[in-house]
Symmetry: C2
Subunit: 390 residues, 2 copies
């Protein structure tokens, strides 16, 4: 058979005129035409080549495309064919090459950008993200930011995009304006992003614990227990969470006419036990009548417990304490710590769901609008805040 085709390579504007001689194996005479310097490539077979879609296709007697359709649960495959292909897949133990899929934009991988996973909150969140992603058949590419105050994460983002991930979970706290670049960048890239625990704004998808509500819950509980001079040790106010918890505390104090001299009831910590310790000492110096403290996390509450003991204050008789986080240890502090449980597991799963939906809807072409989910935290009452005498 003799045929002629024009092939074009647009990128370099070179046209190739190809005169094509198709010879079947039955025409060995053709070998005579070959110049000796044009070697026939020996059939390179890898030693124990992995099983690919081609092997499956060959064994099932169909084309690779049909196998691909079966793999992706496309509707246009006859039931019988589908069954046969699935059998062969099973039999050969075939697993699709994700890199090849990624090249075509279906990597089934999410990027997670997180920080501080050696601490309870972030690691808990990450664990629930992984679990939900796994359930949905998605893999996770993990990137950690060591110091969110100084590292912007631009390299991190670039790296994730280079891996052809299909969506991004951004679990780094917004500190100051360390994220402005990202909001701009998001306009250009067409990979959906969902944020965790961040200040809501109209143009992003996000899920967050209602820290304001949490701050209210903690403070209101202290008010109800009869405490009248309720101080706070905040987290770093560059953190949105810390500001929200502070605001909740302020609101409740104002509601109960306890906000006179409110400045003297505030102390600024940095999440560490040491700063809780220092915070209590500072508060005691400022507010003589102090009888309760809302610590913005459990670690600081632990530092406060230690400081209280050292200055001879008994908890909860002289001083009540409420923490935030409900780390597993807090039930075993002495006394056991009243605290706010955040619902981080729920938040992690929710964000993955949101991202998944976003990816799905993008696939079928519809643009989906930003979405916000709030997680309601929960008060866990233990001994550190209960004073039967009052």
């Amino acid at each position: 058979m003799l045929a002629a085709y024009i092939l074009t390579k647009p990128e370099n504007c070179i046209n190739l005129l190809v005169i094509l001689l198709t010879l079947t194996e039955e025409s060995p005479w053709f070998a005579g035409f070959l110049a000796p310097s044009w070697p026939l490539h020996p059939q390179k077979l890898g030693a124990v080549s992995k099983i690919t879609i081609k092997h499956v296709a060959k064994k099932a007697g169909v084309s690779t495309m049909t196998v691909s359709r079966v793999l992706n649960n496309r509707p246009d495959v006859a039931a019988e064919t589908r069954r046969r292909v699935q059998e062969v897949i099973e039999e050969l133990g075939y697993a699709p090459n994700m890199a090849a899929r990624g090249l075509k934009g279906r990597s089934r991988t999410l990027g997670v950008v997180a920080t501080g996973i050696e601490y309870y909150g972030p690691s808990r969140t990450l664990a629930s993200i992984e679990r939900r992603a796994n359930e949905l058949g998605l893999s996770l590419l993990l990137s950690l930011i060591t110091d969110p105050e100084t590292e912007s994460g631009e390299d991190t983002l670039a790296n994730l995009l280079a891996h052809q991930i299909e969506g991004i979970l951004w679990a780094v706290p917004e500190i100051g304006n360390n994220r402005e670049w990202l909001y701009e960048r998001m306009q250009e890239i067409d990979t959906p992003v969902v944020f965790l625990n961040t200040e809501p704004r109209g143009d992003i998808s996000m899920s967050a614990v209602d820290n304001f509500h949490g701050g209210r819950l903690a403070t209101r509980h202290l008010v109800e227990q009869g405490y009248r001079h309720i101080g706070i040790v905040t987290g770093p106010l560059s953190w949105w969470e810390a500001r929200q918890r502070l605001e909740g505390w302020r609101t409740v104090l104002a509601e109960h006419d306890m906000a006179a001299d409110i400045d003297k009831l505030q102390s600024y910590g940095d999440w560490s036990p040491a700063s809780g310790e220092a915070g209590l000492l500072q508060l005691l110096g400022q507010a003589r009548l102090l009888d309760a403290v809302f610590a913005s996390n459990d670690q600081m509450a632990l530092g406060i417990l230690k400081a209280a003991k050292e200055v001879g204050l008994s908890v909860p008789d002289d001083l009540a304490i409420v923490g935030f986080d409900d780390i597993p240890e807090s039930a075993y502090f002495s006394p056991p710590l009243t605290t706010i449980k955040q619902g981080l597991t729920e938040m992690g799963a929710t964000t993955v769901n949101m991202l998944y939906e976003s990816i799905e809807s993008r696939e079928i072409g519809e643009e989906n609008s930003p979405c916000v989910a709030w997680i309601t935290p929960q008060l866990i009452v233990r001994k550190s805040s209960i004073n039967i005498k009052r």
Copy 2:
């Protein structure tokens, strides 16, 4: 220019005789030869197509291969060419597509299989793994096992391999024989695996904290402080770490002739604070003279502290306690906890280094032999074990 080539497609044994007419853009007359039914493909340009190696090549006036060589720091590029290419890369903000690289076996990605990252040790380890991997330019695909006692992780491994990862870090504890399948599987796959915190064996690469030494450190410290009846609350004995710590304790007791009635000095916990609490009560019931406890982790030590307080034992006067892990909270327990710091950061980094070397040496073709690295833990002395009266 006229040239002829032989192309072969081994898979279907069809030979193509290609007569190649190279026409530059300056030869539009050639269009006359085109049959109307052979359409020139319209140049399909994505809306805002990402920058690929081709764009860089074109702009730098070289071939894609040369760009690739520059990207991979291959030696055979002229200094001037290299500089120009790098300039263009910079200018266009080009980043290589990792999926495409993965397809060729150079995904620059490691798989991490871990469990329990909501706890301090694993999350700390994971953080240091990520940091070191990042420094080496490697990405991390994260897989978590929820329950290592029931989940084998075979699916997890398959998933990682499907992603064309170049190496695996296995940070799931060996419990019973939950890993036999993996040792077998490792024979077939040619992806290097490094294990974390596991019992050494000749045919695997691994890094582990010397838990036996840690157990000795803790116990010897108590002996030196003058305590004579030293109990232990172990972790679950299906865990290698727990067994090693127990063994260290046993050895020191035997060395000091304190191993009479040793059974009554043992209690079996499950890492949780609650089991520490229960463990102490059990020990007190068995051993009247008990004056110290080695808790196999800090969380159980916390439970023990609580239980001691409840039964009216003062720490460290009546009862000394040493923990294991050095979680950040332990310095703020009341009293602050003496404990063993594991060196998890070092372990994480070490395993990544080992895996990296293994990958590198594999690339240049040499087979590298299994390698074992031990991390030496460290005693952190705090108040819970210091009794000046003794």
